[in-house]
Symmetry: C2
């Protein structure tokens, strides 16, 4: 299951999202009918109308949930988690599903370097407002940022393909700097140091971005985990897919403290700090 | 200023959003640098990458705000208001800007009926968390819903134009039923009746939709206000543009209780209940 793949012709954003969402619901032991909100992160196959999220909610049987799409490029999953977290402050909501579903293969110019590293994938998590400590992990806090000054450095033009307007090296440095900034603010606000974090699970991006993150955060490379080598760059789905993968393999364990951070064309940056829960109901891969 | 218009070649979604946002910031007496979040509702001119919101935030000088786009068709402004409202429950956020900017003219097939009623427009409001009653209006509550079962009834196909798959009469009935449902739930939860509402300011849609809403809500037609006759159907911008218009003209007044409701292809439905504030700093139109 964990291999780089490109979606087939019958597999759209909604179909992939539904598979990932069912897996997340089973893992969390939550019935789709009890969801209050469904947030779908996707930028690789957007439509003007309709959004994908209402159809995903309907196929899941999330009858009383409202639903909407989010773009935010590769930072979409973390932006979605933040949105869900704030929704759950409202006492009338209790459970939200955040699913990222991307077909990056559609945005790579044939023959470009992107075709070598991009993958299609979907990952999802359920967030639930809980009174005390339950078996689930806990979202400690998050930090979001954006900088429209860099809006033009990554663009999809009318041909539908990604065009990067700055040198790869500069892009890696900007990514590393942005991740260091949001992560630093997040950790400082929560009075934690990077040494208190068991693992860093960033949006995988490219190998160059990963190396730049290692330098920028000054953490041992062995504490940074991704499954980039297996699935490629699956954009906003990279963090939930990696988490699912790493928990299923026992690589990360209940109680571990994780810092996840992502950047994306826009320019977006986002980070989340959380503990890993007992995914006792983990379904077979 | 209040006339149906189609944007010129130099006027994009971001440019229109910036004009509306500056107007809202001046009206609220808020400095863009003090915004924590910028949410941009737009579906008529979406791009894969980058979103418009980070560029809008940057042009406004909203240096510490995070920003993202929302689709949600004609319900985008109310979905954005709901998202902003929940963000503001977090004590570290205080002010959010919600701006809807649409160029429906780009989605109307030349020669179609749509060209007769669609308009381009942008409208914006600032939401601020306040301890007591200030000069601003107050968002009492909102209600969101969606129904993916009707996802296929309105679609933009590869030609970029809106295609409606059901009869106009059925669409009007569905719109009216959806608006009655979300409005009914919203009013009931807040122990209010339609008689307690001074004005209903719905997403204007079409004349047919408006007539259906009048029937469905069973309110006198004179209590339903839009500026559809002047600006046409400006999609998600219709509610903020109408509000701005009606307040500037003195048609609605401080203390009035307003119910706004919208539907959109997806299928989306949303409603908000609020009081009108003193827009003392209303800028010249």
């Amino acid at each position: 299951m964990y291999r780089r793949g490109w979606a087939g012709s019958g597999e759209g954003i909604a179909e992939m999202a539904v598979i990932a969402a069912r897996r997340a619901l089973a893992r969390a032991g939550v019935d789709a009918a009890d969801l209050d909100a469904v947030i779908l992160a996707n930028w690789t196959q957007r439509r003007y109308l309709p959004d994908f999220a209402p159809a995903v909610a309907q196929r899941l049987g999330a009858r009383r949930a409202f639903a909407h799409d989010l773009g935010c490029a590769c930072a979409g999953f973390l932006y979605g988690v933040a949105t869900a977290r704030e929704l759950l402050r409202n006492p009338r909501y209790r459970r939200a599903l955040v699913v990222a579903s991307e077909q990056t293969s559609r945005r790579a110019r044939p023959g470009s370097r992107g075709t070598l590293i991009l993958g299609d994938g979907a990952g999802a998590f359920v967030l639930e407002r809980a009174a005390g400590d339950g078996p689930g992990g806990r979202l400690i806090d998050y930090e979001l940022a954006c900088d429209g000054e860099h809006a033009a450095i990554m663009e999809i033009t009318d041909d539908g393909w990604v065009h990067t307007r700055i040198a790869q090296r500069e892009l890696c440095e900007l990514a590393a700097r942005s991740i260091a900034e949001v992560s630093g603010r997040l950790l400082a606000r929560n009075r934690r140091a990077l040494d208190d974090v068991t693992w860093v699970i960033p949006h995988s991006g490219t190998a160059g971005v990963q190396a730049a993150i290692v330098r920028a955060l000054a953490v041992p490379a062995g504490r940074i985990l991704t499954n980039y080598a297996e699935v490629g760059n699956v954009s906003s789905a990279s963090i939930p897919v990696a988490l699912d993968h790493l928990v299923a393999r026992g690589r990360i364990r209940p109680g571990d403290v994780v810092l996840s951070a992502a950047v994306g064309g826009g320019w977006y940056a986002a980070a989340a700090l959380y503990t890993v829960g007992e995914l006792a109901r983990e379904v077979a891969a």
